[in-house]
């Protein structure tokens, strides 16, 4: 009796639906992990580095030179002070008068102050600006994009940008008038 040889089986194609599903799942897992790692490892702009550019849509009557909106890139060549604050923040009230006084002193010397209201209700922000007689440009952090890019860990935080467009100093917590003056004098001389 002659034995029948088993039929040769063709190797299955590596492009079947199963393989596609598996590789798609692997790619998705890697994408999600990568995204999480990128977000967790990103740090705030460091001294000497170029800070992220951002657009600002100012609160009514709190614009810059009658502009209702601008971007950080438009302020290149000036010393820029970016102050993150909120009306619900008790420590922000400590520095509010000192920021305004310093702005009054330096606004004609090529210095621009920009207040960014973080996670604040707009009507409360406006009340706060009136309460502390703030006159320098202020804008809400729309969509939380600016605070996200600058990786702030709370308010208040203040970033000093030099004429070269790079971060010169980062102040975590309230800032006093002496530090403001010293830093601005130094940056204006560079």
């Amino acid at each position: 009796m002659q034995e029948t040889a088993p039929e040769p089986t063709l190797p299955s194609s590596s492009f079947n639906i199963g393989n596609i599903a598996i590789w798609t799942a692997v790619a998705l897992i890697l994408a999600v992990i990568g995204w999480g790692l990128l977000n967790s490892q990103a740090t705030r702009p460091e001294v000497g580095h170029t800070p992220p550019n951002f657009d600002m849509a100012f609160f009514p009557t709190y614009g810059l030179d009658n502009q209702t909106q601008t971007s950080l890139a438009d302020l290149q060549g000036k010393v820029v002070v970016i102050n993150f604050w909120a009306s619900w923040c008790a420590e922000c009230k400590v520095e509010a008068n000192e920021l305004e006084t310093t702005w009054q002193k330096y606004q004609d010397q090529g210095v621009v102050f920009v207040g960014i209201a973080y996670a604040d209700v707009e009507s409360k922000s406006i009340d706060y600006l009136h309460e502390f007689n703030v006159t320098y440009p202020n804008a809400p952090d729309l969509g939380g994009r600016i605070s996200h890019d600058y990786k702030i860990t709370g308010v208040p935080e203040t970033f000093f940008i030099g004429k070269d467009g790079k971060v010169a100093k980062v102040q975590i917590g309230p800032i006093d008038e002496a530090t403001l003056h010293t830093t601005l004098d130094q940056l204006l001389q560079e």
Binding site: G18, T24, V32, W88, A119, D120, V121, G143, G144, G154
Partner: protein
């Protein structure tokens, strides 16, 4: 005479409309919004200051302000979705308890389905491969092998020894 009567009825109708508008509209605009109504929306938002704390239970001033904002918007007649959208637009998607169903966050919604699909596919392939291996593999020798038959000489020797006892 008839024209005067018609005019009079028109006047009464107009006066009644004014009265209703004066009473009903302010009542609607000033409807008291309960804490439960506010918290029903606040529970789907996260505090901007604390890590992963729902807005309805957060004790910070920032959250109190946000809850008041929800109350104001409810009083203005805004729907739940309009308020959620406002917060996402104003403060970013990260304040939403549920990730948005667009952009990169859509992956988070698709991921479980794709993981189940991929896992199911892997399981089916494993089953198929196991069945195929069993059907084409050569017959396995039985583990219980019969002992070899004792030789005639050996049997004769045993019988002889038994008879001597």
């Amino acid at each position: 005479m008839k024209a005067t009567l018609t005019f009079r009825w028109l006047f009464y109708g107009f006066a009644l409309s004014l009265l209703l508008a004066g009473v009903v509209l302010p009542v609607h605009a000033q409807r008291a919004i309960s804490d439960d109504e506010v918290n029903a929306i606040a529970k789907d938002l996260f505090c901007p200051v604390c890590e992963s704390t729902p807005l309805d239970v957060c004790p910070t001033q920032a959250c109190a302000d946000w809850r008041e904002l929800i109350r104001t918007q409810l009083a203005e007649g805004k729907s739940r979705q309009e308020i959620i959208d406002y917060f996402a637009n104003q403060y970013g998607d990260r304040v939403l308890a549920e990730p948005p169903r667009h952009g990169f966050a859509l992956l988070l919604w698709l991921f479980p389905g794709i993981a189940v699909l991929a896992g199911g596919t892997l399981f089916v392939r494993f089953l198929r491969q196991t069945i195929r291996t069993e059907s084409v593999s050569p017959p396995v020798a039985p583990s219980h092998q019969p002992l070899p038959e004792p030789s005639d000489d050996y049997l004769a020797q045993i019988e002889q020894e038994l008879s001597q006892r």
